[in-house]
Symmetry: C2
Subunit: 219 residues, 2 copies
């Protein structure tokens, strides 16, 4: 018996939401751009109603800005906004990591090792970027998953999407990328050793370095 596949029953609006969320985070829309609803209708091959519902969700989620009677626009890239997002990531992911290390069980350790391994093996060649990004997001979400707070995880996801929009718009910095990749492995080590303080410090450093890279999108 194959798995019934719950995703089959996704609604058009949900699919558009997912697709646009992905495209927004990955910089497929110019920052500050006004969203041309009729253009999107063709781009995603959907009707107006589900499209507008998706746009409404994205606005409530913070990936679009809604201006009454004048539609939606892609948020600008703003230095202060990025500072805010990065700072909140430090606080919230740091908090979540501490809790995760205290609560995470053996199953978590396995999943964490697996996620880190998959990420390490994935190459970052231009054709595979999307897959790498998926694994990267997955790694970070696995890292904090057992923190015990649904709301904390929700906020972290939201901030991640915000942050990644900046990072994906910024030019890559290979030297920093190398350090960041090594830190992923070190984070796993410290997590398995249950070294709360060191792990949190490293995660904050990790975010700070990513922030430096992401800054490149604001100039």
């Amino acid at each position: 018996m194959g798995v019934p596949q719950r995703k089959e029953s996704a609604t058009t609006a949900s699919r558009v939401f997912d697709a646009m969320r992905h495209d927004l985070v990955n910089g497929r829309f110019a920052a500050g751009e006004k969203v041309a609803i009729n253009g999107l209708k063709e781009q995603y091959q959907v009707g107006l109603s589900p499209l507008r519902e998706a746009l409404n969700r994205l606005a409530a989620y913070g990936l679009l800005v809604q201006e009454n009677q004048r539609g939606f626009r892609v948020p600008r890239l703003d230095r202060h906004e990025l500072d805010d997002v990065a700072g909140m990531r430090r606080e919230l992911e740091g908090m979540a990591l501490e809790r995760a290390i205290l609560k995470g069980d053996a199953e978590w350790e396995s999943e964490l090792l697996a996620a880190a391994h998959r990420l390490k093996r994935a190459d970052l060649s231009p054709t595979q970027v999307d897959e790498w990004e998926r694994l990267h997001a997955r790694f970070h979400s696995t890292l904090v998953a057992p923190c015990g707070s649904v709301w904390l995880l929700r906020f972290i996801d939201q901030l991640h999407d915000q942050f990644d929009r900046y990072r994906r718009m910024a030019p890559g910095v290979p030297a920093v990328r190398k350090i960041l990749d090594e830190q992923h492995g070190q984070l796993v080590e410290l997590a398995l050793e249950r070294d709360v303080k060191a792990a949190r410090a490293l995660l904050e450093d990790h975010i700070d370095r990513s922030y430096e890279v992401a800054l490149g999108s604001c100039k």
Copy 2:
């Protein structure tokens, strides 16, 4: 010249969103209830499209749960959920208050005194509850307003709405209410004295006591 009144240009969907958000937070919908879209159409006297857009936003915001192909429902009141929300309020509002006290200027002091005074003067008689709730929310938002992080304030608002839904469903506890009201005044004093630690401790105690009251909705 009168103020141009930006709110005139609110869209139908926005008005429904505001109204339903208010009604959800104030317990006008039974927890766990399935949302009857056709009923709401009449209740709010609007068409289907703006109504659905509002529902989508509310779901993204967390005041409704969306299940693909089977509409929307009001989230259940769940003890663990309340624990999570209250715990996150402690963390985030505590953090925000510390920052606000460090950053808040003289103008903030004035507004805080004003907000506290208005709240104190408002009576809590059944006919005036909505007004009291408005002033109460306003006080707490003023308290942390100058924390410097838009995202932190956004998350706090969201958690407040979640929390208040529980509190408003719970039976009142006059004795605790009295203490909570006194704490508002004490919070202002500590904030003006710039006593970061004591203020944070008091705010956390304030949230804990509110939590005890809110628990009454889960039994």
